[in-house]
Amino acid sequence: MDSTSETGIKIALAIRSVAAWLVALLLFFPILFMLLTSFKTELQAIAVPSIWVFAPTLDNYAHVQERSDYLLYAENSFITSVVSTIVGLLIAAPAAYSMAFFPSKRTKGILMWMLSTKMMPAVGALVPVYVLCQSAHLLDTRFALVVVFMLSNLPLMVWMLYSHFKDIPPEILEAARMDGASLLTEFRHVILPLAMGGIASTGLLCLVLAWNEAFWSLNLTAANAGTLAALIASYSSPEGLFWSKLSAASVLAIAPIVVFGWFSQKQLVQGLTFGAVK
């Protein structure tokens, strides 16, 4: 009898594993298909039924680099997302700190108000921001993108940091203060080590969001400060008909952040839960 229930459990596990793998492959399929297409010739790419075994070619990747300077766009993406994240953290951390440890009646209101600015469609601010950038001669500069990315991620940053700081028991801070720790020492030696995971995950998420941001980079940049998101949009048509070149460009645009995401997914999820999931 023992052995039958054991085989029953084994069968159940097998069914579950197969189902899980199927679901995962189904969700991943579009990315896999794009990756394969990027190594096909244009003719192979649109073959019906799709070809699964073929001699891979690197022509498409060469074409992407030839058509537009991939490295320049990648550099723009990298610099704007990293700088905007760092500056954002520097501004958000003190705000989150004061709201988490010295809450007032208005704290909750301020937090909600910050979040509501994030819900406003960016298009609503497009014309004014465009006009302002134009008159300040900031159109098509990385500076403008950094500022805009930073500001649009700031509410999320404050929120996430706030919920992580709240997890720190106030007693620890009081003890530090009793020992005569200054604000800066307190921040560096007590809060920073305790909330490092939270700060890291906040930064990671904002990095991903800034990297993938399309709206502002499409509308505020051109050849000089364009990010990878803007580069891809330029492939939408008529080159969209050339599947393998489009795929190669897309793979190049998402590869850095997807690989980065794979390595940091655990950290990222912890931060995203806003301290609500325990």
Binding site: R16, K108, K118, V123, A214, S250
Partner: protein, 279 residues
């Protein structure tokens, strides 16, 4: 004092565009007619409220928001339950599942538009033919549904991951005890799992709401809001008015409405999340 930089810069970020938008919304401001900035009062508001596109856009915005949240929460919970217990290759499955979340919206849109949904060469068309159906011309016949599929594909991984994290914090002994007492799978789910997930569902709904109210790239790179207004949401309507119609005045009036919508949503969220987040 420490709050000042964040609150100050956010305040400027909001108030300056808002003030300019307010000003633009009551003047006649068409990029095709430079120099003509006459005060027209509420004319712009009257124009867009009576515009038939406006109602469609609101409806589409809410449909998109509602269905994506529903799809991601329901499928997210089911998939999270499926992959929660250890099985061979769990790590790889997780990596595969999260990947779509990192794909940038423009790539997502082009990938689906061309390689998945193309009515002749697309993968979906091949699947449809394989089972003997006529392939669907997704973007022309089901434009809003197509956009919903793309956006849901992007956000499902996010929901799955949050739910997995939450499930891992569940009290196993409690589940064990319920099983001993003869609780069915459905009862366990209804009375133990679901209440445990309540907070993370609130988080998923909140974050998705923030991002889905202003879906833009997926629409502009695939259907361009069409055919007609079939897949135009508020964000895209404003864009159409301002940059394709060159009418900054009307676009600004519409943007003000969008701000209002955002605030209504925020008020709703305060109730929803406020309850769940109070500790």
């Amino acid at each position: 004092m420490l709050l000042a930089p964040a609150v100050g810069s956010l305040f400027l970020w909001m108030i300056v565009p808002l003030a300019m938008t307010l000003y633009f919304s009551v003047i006649r401001y068409n990029l095709m007619e430079p120099g003509a900035h006459a005060f027209v009062g509420l004319e712009n508001f009257r124009y867009f409220v009576t515009d038939p596109s406006f109602g469609t856009a609101i409806l589409n915005t809410l449909l998109l928001l509602g269905s994506v949240i529903l799809i991601t929460v329901v499928l997210g919970i089911l998939i999270a339950l499926l992959v929660n217990e250890p099985f061979p290759g769990q790590g790889i499955v997780r990596v595969l599942l999260i990947s779509p979340f990192f794909v940038m919206p423009t790539v997502n849109a082009l990938l689906w538009k061309h390689m998945m949904m193309n009515p002749i060469y697309g993968v979906l068309a091949q699947v449809w033919r394989a089972v003997g159906l006529t392939p669907i011309d997704w973007l022309s016949d089901w434009p809003l549904l197509s956009v919903i599929i793309m956006v849901a594909w992007q956000w499902l991984p996010f929901a799955i991951l949050i739910f997995i994290t939450s499930l891992q914090g569940m009290n196993r002994e409690q589940l064990e005890a319920a099983r001993m007492d003869g609780a069915t799978w459905l009862q366990q789910f209804r009375f133990l799992v679901l209440p445990h997930l309540a907070r993370s569902i609130a988080v998923v709904v909140m974050i998705e709401m923030i991002f889905l109210l202003s879906v833009f790239a997926e629409i502009s790179t695939t259907t361009a809001g069409g055919p007609g207004d079939a897949s135009t949401n508020i964000a895209y309507l404003i864009f159409k008015q301002a940059l394709l119609g060159f009418d900054v005045g009307v676009a600004s009036a519409c943007a003000l409405f969008a701000v209002l919508l955002a605030n209504v949503a925020a008020a709703f969220l305060i109730r929803l999340v406020g309850k769940n987040m109070d500790r």
